[in-house]
Structure formats: C-alpha cells, structure tokens
Symmetry: C2
C-alpha cells in the first residue's frame, strides 16, 4: 500500500572526518522516500526551488517515487550546512537557508488521498497537523520532531501527537518531551499523549521500540513491551546525516508492504529501519540509497540477524 | 569448571537520583564473583581490612564462593565514594581510600591452581600479569582495565593484553586504547595486541562482542564477526555501579559452566552478561545480587530474547 511523506527536500553541504561534500541532494523527505521506495509506493509532499533540476528529479523518478506533491517555487531550495568534525553523533549547524521552505504551504494532490500510510517528517507541527487532517483515510500515521519544536512550539506539537500512531524521536528529544529519567518511563508518558508506539533512536546504538498498552505479567520494571535493534558496527561512518529519516523510511516502507500489521511486522520493521540506516551513512547525502539494490538489503538483513540472534 | 577472579573487594558510599547508601559491600571482585556464582564455582583473590567482618563473609559463603584467596590485612578495606547525581552513566568520584589495597600482593592458594577460567578485574596491570603467570593452566583468560592504566601504565597493560583471550572494556576505553574512530576498527587493533575477543560495554546501550580473526565474505565493512546484546530498558536504574563487573561475571560464569566453548556459547554468554547487569542496577551495591534466584535469571533471559528476536 502507498505511503505519503511530508517533509523537507534540501541541498546539504557536509563535512565529516571522512571528507567534505557540497550540495548533496538531501532533506528528511528525500531520505525517507528513497529508503521506503525499496518496499512500497511512495508519494512526497514538499517544496523545491529553481535549483532543483532534472538531475534531482531523476533520482526520485528512478525509484518510482510520486512527486506530484512536490511544489516548485520561485527561489532556492532549502539549504543546510553542517559539520560532524567534533562529534559524529551530533551535527554542528554552520548555515541554514530556509529559502522556499520558509513559505511552505503543503498541498495534497487528490491522487494521494487513498494513501493508507502517512509519515510526518520533522517540520513545523502546524503543517504536520494540517497534512494529517487532510488525509483522514490513513490507517497508520507516523511522525518525527526535534528539540526546537519541543521547546518553543509544544502546544502545537501536542496537537500533532494526538493524531499519531507511531512517534520516532531520539533519546534527547524523548527526555525533553517527557521530562522522564528513563526512556521506559518516557514511553508511558508518550502513550498518554496519543501515540501507541514510541521508537527511540539511539544513533550508533540502534533503536528501541515501546508498544502500548499491555503490561505483561512478570515484566519486572518494563512497563511496556519493548523491542531493540542495534545499529551495524561499521568501520567507518562517512556521513551520519539522514540515518534517522532512512530508518523511518525502512520502518514504514516495510509496514506499508505488509497485508496486515502484527506485533511481528513491527519487529521486522525495526530491523529494516536499522538496515536502511546502516546503508545511508556509508556515503555522503543520499548517494548510497540512490545506488542501493534490494539484494543488498536482503543480505544485510541477514547480517543483522546474525548480529542479534542466539541460534 | 571453576573460575578464579582477582580484583577489589570494597565498601562503597553512593548517591544517585534514587537515593544514597552508605558502605555497600562492593568492589569489582565482589560483583563479579556473586554474579558468576549463579553459574559455576568461583574463587576470589583479593585483600580486605579489619572492617570486613562476619556479615560480609556470610555474603560470599551464602553463594559458596571460595574465599581462601582473600587476605585479611591490618587496616581498613578499600573505600570508594561516588555520585551519579549529574550523570547516571558516569560516576563522579568524591573519595577514594585505597587503605589495605595500596599494599595488595596477590597470593594464590594452591587449591586454586586447577582453575580453567581466570578473570583479571580492573587492578594494576603489574598485578594482573603476576596472577596470570601464576596460573598457566587457565584455558580462557578475561580481563578488564580503565582509563588510568591505559593513560599512565600502557606498557604494563600491553604485557597483560598479550596473555588475554577476552578483553572487556567500555567505549571510551576502547577508543583511548586504540585511537580508532569506530569500535569495529578498534577491534582489529585489539586483536593485534593479543585478545581474540573484544567485548565493548556501552552502559545503558548494552554491549557488542567482536570475534577474531575471520573476515567472512560479504561482511561489507564489518571486519570481524560481531554480536550485540542490548541492556534492559528499565524504568529506574537505582545504582549503576558494578554493572560492568556483573556483566563480566555472568559472561564468564556462563562460559565456565559449558562443556565446550563454541561461537554459540559466546552469544549466550553475552545475553547472560546483560541479564546479570540488568539485575545489579536495580538496587544499591550488591544488594540485588545477594537476593537473586536462578529462576529470576532464567525468566529475565526470556525477556531479553523477546526484546531482540524477530520470531
């Protein structure tokens, strides 16, 4: 089944211990849609400027991603420049030019209306909510956010959370949003806000999903069913940008490809999320995702199984 | 088969967000031996002072731990005071009184000589080496160390590493010891120093083992076979002290209980390590280990399986 994603399409200039790359095709919606495209049909809602040309469009086309919802506006595409020289786990932002993104008003093509899956990537919660309300038929809705919205736009964000099934955020955001001392306690607080599943992304340490609301007997301090997937211990991370969005793309792309959603589907989705995250960081920007094959994905899935399974 | 451990027995005063506890029975050798005692026979080499009395001895006796190698010296037992109020992942040391530990000269009872497993907990590498050389019959030797020895006693430490099969250290120590940018690259460097297995402890994110020297085909940037186990996402960590030593106790205790050591044994050992680490942090000091039952261990092992396994 098709999944619609709303978020940023951007050009990134990134420096990391592995080198520097100018104006990579990037942005949360780009990472997400390329990643999800290996599993299901993907539809994008975004805005780009006049510097988004045939070469960039060709990347989406090659992965059969529906770009009817990408608006072309006068001006330049969203640009971000960051450095991971001091810390591979956290980018230092050197420049942010919102450009056409500053006036982004998502419009949803009528051809997207039957999307049963929806992912609200990290953008202004007011826009996230507008897209969510415009797509009432979606049966599974996921969302991301960031420290800025949690800190300064919490009321708008809380409105978005009410409509989410799955929230994917990192450790810092989890603690910031809930004030809880542990992610297990945070999960309980998140469930009261709307989401039924919390996926906490740990960067190089993988991700943990918490599922509401069962409290199985004898769970001994784990209030909710949890499932963990590690990240792949790579020798070199070339560029960590987009790992979380690629994880989300693998996670939701896999779910959208399933006939029904069972607890097992969500466990597999966690694995495919981490598989996709492990690829994207091997090259700058979306380069690795652009060249990826389904065979490589299946092979790496097996590596994750060997990395985690006893027998 | 029996395992011998050399390390510290101590009294700890600890403050954490969960509270404060005075003079807990602690020390690496205590955590290790209590943890390992659930799996196999354990023999301890350590030194204690006059304040180590019947109550403390009774804790070892209750777990059938052989304390013939614990020397009783005039003076006080090693004392450490630390705070986790600012950071649950790293203790701030408030006071260290080496006391009788300052003059520690390990002596090995002849009854320990047939120990086939040996664990050198974090002490002066000169002493680690002396114990290792005095026990040439050990077939599997594990060791731990810390930033202080890596920074200021590296030559002595390198001599110890030559005689180790398994090195268990944390992320920071791994990077400090090798200068490598990733733990996967660090593993290759560690293997050149002696150990055949590197277990990197990630605190709240579990642990990853790297196994030398195979480079399986198609491993795509993972130079060595790896295996990951998460930590249990507990609602509250009362006192993180001793988690690494309890992990080591579960890991080596389980291995020592096996008839033969296969790749599968090491995967199970990783799980039992994390199981034991998950218990110890639920109470101050060694309190939780003192009260633990084998049934609880088996039950939690299943929780770890559910936390990580797809099917």
């Amino acid at each position: 089944m098709a999944i619609t994603v709303v978020g940023s399409v951007a050009f990134d200039t990134v420096e990391t211990p592995a080198g520097r790359k100018e104006r990579c095709l990037a942005g949360a919606a780009t990472y997400f849609s390329l990643s999800a495209s290996f599993f299901t049909d993907v539809r994008v809602i975004a805005v780009v400027g006049e510097d988004f040309g045939h070469a960039e469009q060709a990347v989406f086309d090659a992965h059969k991603i529906d770009t009817a919802g990408i608006q072309h506006a006068p001006g330049k595409t969203f640009f971000w420049q960051g450095s991971y020289l001091e810390n591979l786990n956290e980018a230092k932002t050197l420049q942010t030019d919102l450009n056409v993104f500053a006036g982004f008003e998502p419009t949803i093509p009528s051809s997207y209306n039957d999307s049963q899956f929806l992912f609200l990537a990290n953008i202004d919660p007011v826009l996230q909510r507008r897209v969510r309300e415009a797509m009432p038929h979606a049966k599974l809705i996921g969302g991301d956010t960031m420290n800025y919205w949690i800190k300064d736009h919490k009321l708008a964000l809380l409105e978005v959370l009410k409509g989410l099934d799955v929230l994917l955020i990192n450790d810092t955001e989890t603690r910031m949003l809930t004030g809880a001392r542990s992610i297990a306690l945070a999960a309980g607080k998140i469930f009261e806000l709307g989401p039924k599943i919390l996926v906490v992304k740990h960067g190089e340490y993988g991700a943990t999903a918490f599922f509401a609301p069962q409290k199985p007997e004898g769970s001994e301090g784990i209030a909710h069913r949890a499932f963990h997937v590690p990240a792949l211990p790579l020798e070199e991370v070339v560029d960590p940008t987009g790992a979380g969005d690629s994880f989300a793309g693998g996670f939701f792309g896999y779910l959208a490809s399933q006939k029904e959603l069972t607890p097992k589907s969500f466990r597999y989705a966690m694995f495919y999320g981490s598989v996709m995250g492990s690829f994207v960081v091997e090259r700058f920007g979306t380069e690795r995702l652009q060249q990826l094959t389904r065979k490589e994905i299946d092979h790496r899935f097996q590596l994750f199984r060997e990395l985690t399974h006893l027998d």
